[in-house]
């Protein structure tokens, strides 16, 4: 059943996807805040690194130094993952129009990320728009060939880098760009506590959804594959836990991971 699929880095998920992701396509990881989206996407890149692939993490939601600190507790060999800081600076609210992310920004390896947050320079600030980010990624992809790319998060990109009236169209174009660049990409999408599913999920080739439920004994986490174009997939919802080693998908009874087909 493998058909050249690539591993996700989360063993139980590979089985749910009947082998892994079909390469060179964009996928969505959606879930409520704190459901484990960033951890899952980090595992996706880690799998690539261990196979000798080049991997890029585009940070739009949190500063890279914090991501690095947060991942420290997993003790993963993340040093070779390249990180592109796409966080906007503090806005200056000056009459001059948007100063876009400079196209000279380079991805930095995780091991070189400093412990302190990058400060907004005094004389100018850069703001990221979807247009500038796309241009920057294009240049980056021309220079080097990346196999796996994570955009964390699409919600931030939509919220802070796009104008409201063109969100869906621009999102579509951004995903098209990723597909044309022949990278397998994982985009994280934050889901509200209740309400509609954001449009990104319609556009992606597959959606892995993380669920977070609260009951008397605390927060329970579940994972499901909502959609997977071009492949069969497991239709059950499985519980998972975030352990020292990362995300571990359990079988429905809470025991071992779902059995392979």
């Amino acid at each position: 059943m493998n058909d050249g699929k690539i591993k996700t880095g989360t063993p139980g998920l590979d089985r749910m996807l009947h082998g892994g992701f079909v390469p060179h396509r964009p996928y969505i990881v959606s879930g409520a805040p704190g459901s484990g989206k960033t951890v899952l996407s980090m595992q996706f890149l880690l799998e690539g690194i261990q196979g000798g692939e080049r991997c890029l993490f585009v940070a739009l939601e949190e500063p890279p130094n914090e991501i690095k600190q947060n991942m420290r507790s997993f003790r993963w060999p993340v040093d070779d993952i390249e990180m592109l800081d796409g966080n906007s600076d503090v806005r200056r609210f000056e009459p001059t129009p948007v100063i876009e992310i400079s196209t000279e920004v380079e991805p930095v390896k995780m091991r070189e990320i400093e412990d302190r947050i990058r400060k907004t320079p005094d004389f100018e600030s850069h703001e990221v728009t979807v247009h500038s980010l796309q241009q920057l990624l294009k240049n980056t992809f021309i220079k080097r060939r990346y196999e796996r790319v994570v955009v964390d998060s699409m919600t931030a990109l939509k919220y802070f880098c796009m104008r409201e009236f063109e969100e869906t169209l621009t999102t579509q174009s951004f995903m098209r760009f990723l597909a044309e660049s022949k990278v397998t990409s994982l985009l994280t999408v934050e889901l509200p506590e209740s309400g509609d599913v954001p449009p990104e999920t319609f556009l992606a080739r597959g959606e892995v959804r993380l669920h977070k439920l609260r009951d008397e004994t605390g927060i329970k986490r579940f994972i499901s594959v909502e959609k997977y174009k071009g492949s069969s997939h497991d239709e059950f919802v499985y519980p998972f836990e975030i352990r020292e080693s990362g995300i571990v998908v359990l079988s429905a009874e809470g025991g071992k991971a779902p059995a392979p087909l």
Partner: protein, 363 residues
């Protein structure tokens, strides 16, 4: 990783030791649930350790904050208060918005006196940008004066600002920029905010590195409070909802205690539970009276008025009029008990009490 204490021991336990420093966090919950008190715990804890703290107050004028907190025995004299409450709107035609940035009102808690009067000439309206400017001025001013950066900053609250000063798409970008600004100050920040709509991802919740949520609901006629951690980046945390109490010593978290139900359904289920309990109570009393009536019949003691009373109680129970049902049933019970006791002792029955006639029977 080093952690910083919130000032509430039980909450620190829930957070796995405290907050990861130099990051912004959100404190959410309904009004009157304890958000501001937590913020004050956090600042008081800092002051106790000699860390400079700043409170940006947007909702209440500083004098009210001061008097509200005087009941708690905290020494907050050295706490800096930045008064960012908007003035009375001037409703002038020429310029609609004047930023707060023009006057900076920061003072020690000690010196907070009366409410600041709106200036006759121009009114201050508050915007995120204005606050950002004020905060920056104060942060670097303070750094220069005392050679000490602010370690702890509280913004109380963003809700009013969101509701009144910002509408439309810009608000996301404004708040994003504000949070970035707070992150770059490298102080640990608590942002008090209310989640207005569960269907919308609100920017500060989305960007904050953690969310501490307060819950408040009515259990019968008692207000109950609880606290939970909804999100906490980069750390393990206690994922249960824990009960809290607010006393003169501030917030106490029962970090071993448990709350049986989730917050959204709590109110409704609390009522349902209470209803069931009263219902049960009434039916046990009625059953008891029925037994007494049986006994009375055996002893040839008249109980017809009590029978009427109990049928009325049952009617009330059926109509879910629990209080009346309980009252009537208890009354019937005590009347019959007394009568039976007297009969057992061989005493003559007491003079009949004035039991109102059953409904529908008129003389």
């Amino acid at each position: 990783m080093d952690r910083i204490s919130t000032g509430v021991a039980g909450l620190d336990t829930m957070l796995g030791g405290g907050l990861i420093p130099r990051r912004p966090y959100v404190v959410s919950g309904p009004t009157g649930s304890g958000k501001t008190i937590l913020a004050m715990h956090f600042l008081a804890e800092g002051l106790g350790r000699g860390e400079a703290g700043l409170m940006v107050t947007l909702d209440e004028p500083p004098n009210e904050v001061k008097s509200n907190l005087s009941a708690f025995g905290w020494n907050l004299d050295r706490l800096k208060m930045l008064d960012a409450t908007p003035d009375i709107k001037a409703h002038k035609r020429q310029r609609s918005v004047i930023d707060v940035g023009t006057t900076l009102d920061v003072r020690d808690m000690e010196q907070v006196g009366e409410i600041r009067q709106s200036s006759g000439i121009r009114a201050l309206e508050v915007s995120v940008h204005g606050i950002q400017k004020m905060l920056k001025q104060e942060y670097f001013g303070h750094l220069e004066r005392t050679k000490q950066p602010y370690k702890r900053i509280v913004v109380d609250s963003l809700t009013a600002l969101k509701m009144f000063s910002m509408q439309g798409e810009d608000s996301r970008i404004m708040i994003q920029s504000f949070l970035r600004f707070l992150s770059e100050l490298e102080a640990t920040c608590l942002i008090v905010s209310e989640r207005l709509k569960p269907t919308v991802i609100e920017t500060e919740f989305f960007l904050a590195r953690g969310e501490i949520r307060f819950h408040k609901w009515l259990d019968g006629n008692v207000i109950r409070r609880a606290i939970s951690i909804e999100k906490y980046r980069g750390s393990r945390f206690d994922d249960r909802i824990r009960p809290i109490t607010i006393t003169n010593a501030g917030i106490t978290v029962d970090s071993q205690g448990s709350v049986s139900l989730t917050a959204g359904r709590l109110a409704k289920l609390g009522d349902a539970y209470l209803e069931q309990r009263i219902g049960d109570e009434v039916s046990t009393v009625i059953e008891r009276v029925m037994k007494l009536i049986e006994e009375a019949n055996k002893m040839r003691v008249s109980a017809s008025d009590v029978e009427h009373g109990i049928s009325r109680a049952m009617l009330h129970l059926h109509r879910k009029n629990y209080q009346k049902a309980l009252k009537t049933a208890l009354n019937a019970q005590s009347v019959l008990r007394e009568r039976l006791d007297r009969a057992k002792q061989g005493l003559p029955p007491p003079p009949p009490r004035a039991v109102p006639p059953p409904p529908g029977v008129r003389k």
